[in-house]
Symmetry: C2
Subunit: 205 residues, 2 copies
DNA sequence: GGCGGTATGATACGAACGTATGAAGGAGGT
DNA sequence: ACCTCCTTCATACGTTCGTATCATACCGCC
């Protein structure tokens, strides 16, 4: 990691905000150091380079999200309920850590392959969904189909809807910053996912 | 638009490739002009600025995709079939115009609001899906729920899965460049969407 | 043949970038 | 008091960027 200090911490915090807002190329070391109230040379001194600081930020943000999500996946209950809970958790985590989807967005736009930590986290999440689906297929509550592909359908909805919150608001007039709207939205996605997976039609409440 | 000429056309073509690969900031006018085999000053002369050339590229690519999609939406048949066809068309159009999702990806990562043309196109597509859903609800083939939110669930799958083709391959080992895999993937999404929307369980083939 | 307007050419300019350099500060140990 | 080491600071360097400038080349037309 890095030697923590008030200056280094301030740099990470400022970098997290600026990188998530403007991406790697769009954020200058001058902007970061100014925002952190430090000298221009502080990034080189504490982290070695701008790129190294970026990696620290990415790893930290990803770690926080990952812990939260893996906990959400380990609740008991029937598979369909747990999948619904996982979808809900995805929405919640992204809402609590708004920097994360932004960073992912910028990261996707870069040419280079995903950093190892991010790739593993993604793989773990899609794997978790797939195994929940497989479980449901075994107990007969989920219809047949390739669990991995079905997991992709499930996961793509919270991911895209959160990542693209801005165009969704502009194009579909759905404002996710409004808690009531958000609740309706998340509820609709959970219901859609359950209906898309269920082997038998579920009873409507 | 712009005064078409062999030089201007070559610039647009080179810019389309480079902008979609590396984004606006990641593409220099020097790279574009070199790629197009023209002089450094050609962009300023023919388009006025790099930004103006970018807008031309964006509008052209979007136009092509839009024409293709709106045609796909106007086939006859029951709503669920037409929605399935639209999802299929989304996948096909993105595969035929790989520059488009890339450009969208980069555009989402920029801070500025979506260009008007893109915003309208997005709005039109989500609106098309929503009205198809509403139609299905009226004839009883689609379950109840907010059509706009359900449309978001439907549209997010082809969009995200295509935009994130690279991380999907890295994280879920699903290679969309392989036609057989792609066909299975698209089929799975169509089936998931139908199941997610249908009022009654559909017969399995 | 010469002329005028359009297009292309080489080059210059000022700004912003990431990083390197070396001096100045400041607290803790002896 | 002084030396040491970690940190902060101002500033310089070399590159790359988008655009401006102005000379040269091309071509239909009188």
């Amino acid at each position: 990691m890095y030697q923590s200090s008030s200056t280094a911490d301030a740099l990470v915090e400022a970098a997290r905000q600026l990188f998530s807002q403007h991406g790697y190329d769009g954020t200058s070391v001058r902007a970061i150091t100014r925002h952190a109230g430090t000298n221009l040379g502080a990034i080189t001194y504490h982290f070695g380079s701008k790129e190294a600081l970026y990696e620290v930020v990415l790893a930290a943000v990803n770690q926080g999200v990952d812990d939260r999500l893996m906990a959400a996946a380990q609740t008991p209950g029937p598979p369909l309920d747990r999948i619904g809970g996982f979808v809900q958790a995805l929405f919640d985590v992204f809402a609590e850590n708004p920097d994360y989807p932004q960073l992912i967005m910028h990261e996707l736009a870069r040419e280079r392959p995903l950093p190892e930590g991010l790739r593993q986290a993604l793989e773990r999440r899609i794997g978790t969904l797939a195994s929940l689906i497989r479980e449901g297929q075994e107990d007969g509550s989920i219809r047949t189909g390739d669990p991995m592909l079905m997991a992709l359908s499930v996961g793509s909805q919270p991911l895209w809807i959160t990542l693209a919150a801005r165009p969704v608001q502009e194009g579909a007039r759905i404002d996710q910053t409004d808690p009531k709207t958000r609740k309706r939205l998340v509820g609709s996605v959970v219901e859609f996912v359950r209906a898309g997976l269920a082997a038998h039609p579920e009873k409507r409440e």
